[in-house]
Symmetry: D2
């Protein structure tokens, strides 16, 4: 990776942004939740923060968006801190080769989800949090806010309600796991937490800052406080690398070379261990369900800065 | 089939019963619903009624038991009367080759159950009844009671509640179908009706009388009233023949040669078109989920009376 | 079933034939084997033979056609005679719910085919014959010819070769079963026999006569010689009823009510135990792979003669 | 990653080796090919070569072993050079979530393998080579030998023959793909090349040297000749990272953090882009089919040298 100055980055961001303006975005905004369909599809934000706390931003990077599945990494982080490697008794860590909400593998494998970033896996993680936390919702938000000390992070009540009303597939996954004994608590509590989690709203800046601990062996580099042990940060990075992009994991590894996680709200976070974390937001999704322009921005950036790790 | 007198039948039943006494029943009473586990496993009842209204009974044939999935044939009968062949837009009619509550095929086939005697298929049938009936529960019971004019047919509230509390797999099936748009009504109404249906209690005599219309081209032979059109009776018989015994359909066709339907309460009903209907009850189930002794009784009976249709 | 005279049958066949002339046949001749694609699609033959040796025929009933999968019943009959119920250690007897040549179920179930009328099941049956017969091909043909004493039954060398050259799916099935240890002999011998079997050619008259033993408890009614034990005949009938029509088993049971078996050459055989056997041939297949007009003829015939057993 | 001297490495290797001596290896030598079962299970070799051509070795690093699936990366490299990105029309690039030789996904996805490191995918790659090379076997070996100019690389005729005789599953995969039209050439040629490929024998030193071009953006650092374009090297690395370890991809990414590929002969190769390539060999496999001690060596090494890229 090259040594980069503020000017270098501004120039690179500028170049990438100009290049993207000439691209016809063939993607589609997610519509399965009515609230998501309302977002202005032309939004584009980028925010990169280095481990020595230099910030580089572009476009709508200070606007809140629905981070959706990106949040699954944060609930996983908390659950891992609480129960440690015992978590893997109830969730696998391997890529699934199936759709993110498929029930087939879950039935064949007796209610054990393939990994914690699939819907089923994230629901099991929520079940663990419901069991172990005193007040699951507020404790989870306290943890997330505490990573960077940002009290401004919250969720959209309207999106959470929208998820409840349309989340039949998630109810099916949760009931199937319950029938196998892999959900301990009542489903309303577990899915209530899950839908809140998916409805978290952040800006690109907030996402990049929140995920920076994964680039620093688990330390918040601003406060120097430990978020997780180094081994945990590495585990989460390897899970993101293998399972963070649904059926486009290899494509992302190839084009960008960084561990990361996408959400159907059009956000993507990626981490370069030892260097930086970056968040991108552009609402239109490619056919695999990942932000079309978000992927392009990250590909262009890692190419121009030679920061792929592969 | 031989011509049989009352004495002949009594003798045959006596012989079969003596033979069964010497058999060690390797089956197990169903325990997935606590209420079912309480039944006395030694119960054995048989009741056969011919189309000219001769009755032959043995053992505990006048004791109520939980007919469970046998009732799916009755809801199917009513739904077919109401919507006719359009029903097949939403449910298939072929054997599934999978477990009765599998989600795999349901996901691959986009929420269309393979046949109406699988749990998923019976849930779609209940959804249709909820849409089309004014007061689904009481209208369905009125229909069932009306087949023979027996007002004594009801369901066990305790079993129905037990089903609700343990029916996670059924909730999973219903939610999956809802996500594919194959359930129109809210799930509580649909599954409420479904669990009531599965909790119906009848005696062997009542089951045999209720199913006799399938041996008479759709006519109640006592009152001479039409229950369904002849073509419908034939359709229901062919569905029972192909799909009535989970993964033991061929075995039942081979050993007994009659269309029929089993339930996890240990009941089996079978129909010889043009001759008779018969109900057997013995709570211990073989490993395929069908009454061990019930199968033996029917096999012995059709052999001794030469009444197999194959 | 009504009592029918020669005149009655001629009249009924005539009526059915006239009705069919006005039907636009939407079916397609099978083309996966070039040789099959050459058949005149307008051919239509019917031949019914009763257990007291009365014959009723119509159309092209004396013309040879490729009986294809119908022959699987004959190899099964011979294998059952040789190894008896031990056969079921290596093949199941239940409907599959999958395509006739699917590998999915075969892999999940560790190389044990669901039933002997699927391609995989018929290949295992051929493997058993290769193990147990001195000269498998000629012994099998001797058995088939011996059922009725008809020395005129043979197979098409060109179709057999065509099957070899295009039968990659069958090679895949056989290799998969071999990898699970469910094929004992070398694949060329086993598939060689299998492809010969599928290439047998018969007329409708020959098919009806050959299958008559299944209507007579296993006896050749002309010579009074035993072909198989009564229990075997019943087993074969129940397997045909459950598994004889691919994904249209219930439909055939409903419309015709008889056990039977179809082939992609456009032939169908059906058996009414205690009454008759019947063969129909019309090359154009419906989308489920069964003869479109063949199904219609059998449906019309069983309706007009009231000979459905359901 | 730390700067390391020759002495440092020798010390680290020594420490790791001593640690491993005290470990009870629960793995099993692969036995599905008789020839593989004959290998001395106590063998352990390591060879690391840096991009500036420094070599560090330990144990049996100069002994030939059967590299098995590791060779799939080399055939893929050649095929990518010949047909470029068009390769992805016939093979996917995503992890499969299934066993390396499963037919299920292959049937559902109509003969398109999930990735080129699964058996099915490597067979398609061989088919492409058979189509495009004049003399496939010798041209492929010329390419492999040419990467480092090592004329000493060959294959074991006995293992190749052993693979042919026991490779029923691979024949099943190839026939299934042929039935879908995804194999162009006759199967004997394609599988002949495939079995030769899997029977390649190399020492740890040879493997490490051969794979070094993936750490150097596609350049042979000794001769400075281009093996592949930088973009190709990155693609191959990302495919190895996602798909190189069967059902243990995330585990390897977590513990080692490097792209790599294992073989059932007990070999593993891993690449640190910009730094080094390393080969390990220890014949006993864990239950996921990867070398038990090989994984331990690489984990210890990347930990001690801080060379994980995650």
């Amino acid at each position: 990776m090259l040594n980069m100055t503020q000017t270098d980055y501004q120039e690179i961001f500028q170049t990438i942004a100009s290049e993207l303006e000439n691209i016809d975005d063939p993607g589609e905004v997610a519509t399965y939740i009515p609230e998501l369909a309302c977002v202005d599809p032309s939004k584009l934000g980028v925010h990169l923060v280095t481990i020595d706390n230099n910030h580089f931003a572009h476009g709508d990077s200070d606007e809140k968006f629905s981070i959706q599945s990106i949040a699954k990494v944060l609930s996983l982080t908390l659950a891992l801190e609480i129960v440690g490697e015992k978590l893997w008794d109830r969730v696998g860590v391997e890529p699934s080769g199936s759709a993110f909400n498929s029930l087939v593998q879950l039935e064949y494998e007796k209610g054990i989800p393939r990994n914690p970033l699939l819907n089923a896996g994230a629901i099991v993680v929520c079940d663990i949090l419901v069991t172990r936390l005193k007040d699951p919702k507020s404790d989870l938000f306290e943890f997330i806010r505490g990573i960077t000390g940002n009290l401004n992070i919250g969720y959209s009540q309207r999106i959470a309600e929208s998820e409840v009303q349309t989340g039949f597939r998630n109810y099916a996954l949760a009931n199937l796991m319950k029938s196998f004994g892999n959900i301990e608590n009542d489903l309303e509590s577990v899915l209530g937490l899950y839908f809140n989690l998916c409805s978290i709203q952040m800006t690109c800046k907030e996402v990049a800052e929140t995920f920076l601990f994964l680039a620093t062996n688990g330390i918040n580099p601003v406060t120097n406080e430990k978020v997780v042990a180094p081994m945990r940060a590495r585990r989460i990075n390897s899970i993101m690398q293998m399972c963070g992009f649904y059926d486009e994991a290899e494509e992302f590894a190839f084009s960008t070379g960084l561990p990361g996680k996408s959400g159907v709200g059009g956000g993507i976070v990626a981490v370069h261990p030892g260097k930086f974390s970056i968040a991108v937001w552009s609402p239109k999704l490619n056919e695999k369900g990942n932000s079309y322009k978000g992927m392009k921005v990250l590909e262009a950036l890692t190419t121009k800065t030679q920061s792929s790790i592969l």
